[in-house]
């Protein structure tokens, strides 16, 4: 079916393409600016005013300072630890819950599901959660970041929905062959659910990588700080002074400017690099979640 495009529609199409190009520019330019600024010569960058269209001079001093900074390295190490251990806990817990709550003929399934849904609409809030973590003796320990968020109820429901979509006949034939629930979960359900598992790994991983608030309220010991908390100090509380111990005295004030940018690049690069390859899984996950609604 073809039809003639009116003049108005042609104009609209051009306007639309123009708008999309503008949107892409507005989205990407901040990242480009930061990348160029981080590579610029600190002294020139400190004096520079205006739109940065290419690096001003070239210097890797800022990256050197960032990578030599012990707190950034400690933060990176801690974040990797929280991401790996935290996501592992998330996956095990979410899978167990999703499997058990997706089976038929379990008497207490609906009451338990109901109790879980309640926690999605009503929760104790910040202060009682903080006091709970305190009374469990988890304050200022890695467990305070790993245990309270062990299951995301939305993710549990998404995974449960995916498990429910697997034909019951597969489970039944396995049961006739004498398989118990553990075997059914690990040999049948999980191998058939790789897309949803990929989505869960990605969401939990990004969540752990980006989170700062739990660390802010639960951790006191700087040796335990995740990267985001260190970033907060450098980017927002403006304490680049702490970082300058490695840099030469003469351009201390100047390098502070580019250090900020280099820190952003170093901390965001992993996500920026893997993002294009994983995008389809993220989108897939949103769609699974949307189908539920």
């Amino acid at each position: 079916m073809t039809y003639k495009r009116s003049v108005g529609e042609s104009i609209f199409s051009w306007f639309n393409v123009g708008f999309m190009l503008l949107l892409c520019t507005v989205t990407l330019y901040p990242f480009i600016y930061i990348l160029f600024a981080s590579l610029s010569d600190p002294t020139e960058m400190a004096r520079f005013r205006g739109l940065l269209l290419f690096p001003k001079g070239f210097s890797l001093e800022a990256y050197k300072a960032v990578l030599e900074n012990p707190m950034i390295l400690v933060g990176y190490r801690n974040t990797l630890y929280y991401v790996v251990i935290g996501t592992a806990i998330n996956l095990v817990m979410t899978t167990l819950g999703a499997y058990a709550l997706s089976r038929q003929g379990v008497l207490l399934k609906n009451p338990i599901m109901f109790l879980i849904v309640i926690t999605m609409v009503f929760n104790g809030g910040l202060i009682p959660s903080f006091l709970l973590v305190n009374s469990l003796g988890l304050l200022n320990s890695a467990w305070a970041l790993l245990l309270p968020g062990a299951i995301n109820s939305f993710n549990l429901i998404i995974m449960r929905t995916a498990f429910q979509g697997i034909p019951v006949s597969l489970e039944e034939s396995a049961r006739i062959d004498g398989a118990n629930d553990w075997v059914i979960l690990t040999r049948i359900i999980l191998p058939l659910s790789l897309p949803v598992i990929a989505v869960m790994i990605l969401w939990y991983t990004v969540g752990h990588w980006n989170s700062y608030f739990s660390a802010l309220i639960y951790l006191r010991d700087r040796e335990l700080f995740p990267l985001q908390l260190i970033l907060r100090e450098i980017l927002i509380s403006n304490s680049t002074d702490n970082m300058m111990t490695g840099a030469a005295t003469s351009d201390r004030a100047d390098i502070g400017v580019t250090i900020k940018y280099a820190t952003i690049i170093v901390s965001t690069l992993p996500i920026l690099l893997i993002y294009p390859f994983l995008q389809k899984y993220f989108v897939h996950g949103v769609l699974i979640g949307a189908l539920k609604e």
Binding site: L23, A100, L101, L131, L231, P276, E293
Partner: protein, 320 residues
């Protein structure tokens, strides 16, 4: 129905004759592996979700760390009363509502408009590129987003440099209460508009293509098709999300605001959740801040219930 399900159904039928306890016992034995798997999940929800709900009792108590939740003396509604009489009360309510209202006005329609415009792009490759780029900011941590914002709107930052090119005076954006909401909402739109459009694009992809053919035969142009086919097609999704949004009118997360605000901008930036954070976590006034948090939760709970009831009434869609 398959044999195994029949088998389970007959077991359930037999259960009906027995006492509830026997039935439960039999179910626990029959599904012992399932309950074993559920055990850590139940323990987790009991401790980390129902534990804090029990802890809410301190909203009615004069909580002391040494006394614990149960041992602390009761004070009734004293904390609530002092919150209602606090001269920041109306400021907190106003700021919380206004930020939500502006989000509803700007952040809510933005992804819908983007999705409609993306849908009109003819070049599939170009569409995919735009989508990929627009989703990207969603994955940047809030610390980095606010960090970038702080840097760009600084006195010698990118935005003020651009303003200077046009001969305008520099603005101290983060110190001016008048700018806070604009910065909060616009950075939120920047970060979320692409990601938010996914759900609408998904809804559009479920629209029957024959509807467009029919509209074209009736002489509808693209504008008419958008108005009469696409928009009605995604309307259920819009309604659901709108109602969800209205349901959360009284809650604003503290995570981003805590990074963005400072005492100079409390006038417009301080919301209930940030107040709870300052009073409770920083000020260790646990009973009082728990009461403020509880007040907020209860209002939010009522709103979401109302929203769900309305949603059930006006459409078939409900949240639960």
């Amino acid at each position: 129905m398959s044999s195994l399900n029949k088998n389970r159904a007959s077991l359930l039928a037999r259960d009906r004759k027995d006492s509830k306890l026997t039935v439960l016992g039999r179910d626990l034995i029959r599904n012992r592996y399932i309950y074993l798997m559920l055990l850590p999940v139940i323990v987790y929800y009991a401790i980390f979700h129902y534990g804090p709900m029990y802890g809410l009792l301190i909203a009615f108590k004069n909580y002391g760390l040494a006394d614990g939740v149960w041992g602390s003396p009761w004070v009734g509604f004293a904390h609530f009363q002092s919150f209602f009489e606090n001269h920041f009360f109306w400021r907190l309510i106003r700021n919380t509502l206004l930020i939500n209202l502006y989000e509803l006005l700007f952040a809510f329609p933005a992804p819908i408009i983007l999705a409609l415009l993306l849908n009109e792009l003819r070049l599939k490759f170009f569409k995919r590129v735009v989508q990929t780029i627009s989703y990207l900011p969603h994955f940047i941590s809030i610390v980095v987003v606010v960090g970038m914002l702080v840097d760009f709107v600084a006195r010698d930052g990118l935005i003020n440099n651009i303003l200077a090119m046009f001969g305008m005076e520099p603005i101290a954006f983060l110190q001016e209460p008048g700018w806070f909401r604009s910065l909060y909402i616009s950075s939120g739109v920047w970060q979320g508009v692409g990601w938010g459009s996914i759900i609408y694009l998904a809804a559009m992809s479920t629209i029957d293509p024959s509807l467009y053919d029919a509209a074209r035969i009736d002489g509808a142009g693209r504008w008419r098709q958008t108005l009469s086919v696409t928009l009605p097609g995604i309307m259920p999704t819009i309604v659901i999300l709108l109602i969800l949004n209205i349901g959360s009118m009284m809650s604003v997360g503290s995570e981003k605001i805590i990074l963005m605000y400072n005492p100079l901008t409390y006038e417009t930036a301080d919301v209930i959740s940030t107040y709870v954070y300052r009073k409770g976590i920083l000020g260790a006034d646990f009973g009082y801040s728990a009461a403020v948090g509880l007040f907020n939760s209860i209002v939010s709970f009522i709103l979401i219930m109302l929203a769900n009831t309305i949603s059930k009434a006006v459409s078939d869609h409900k949240l639960w």
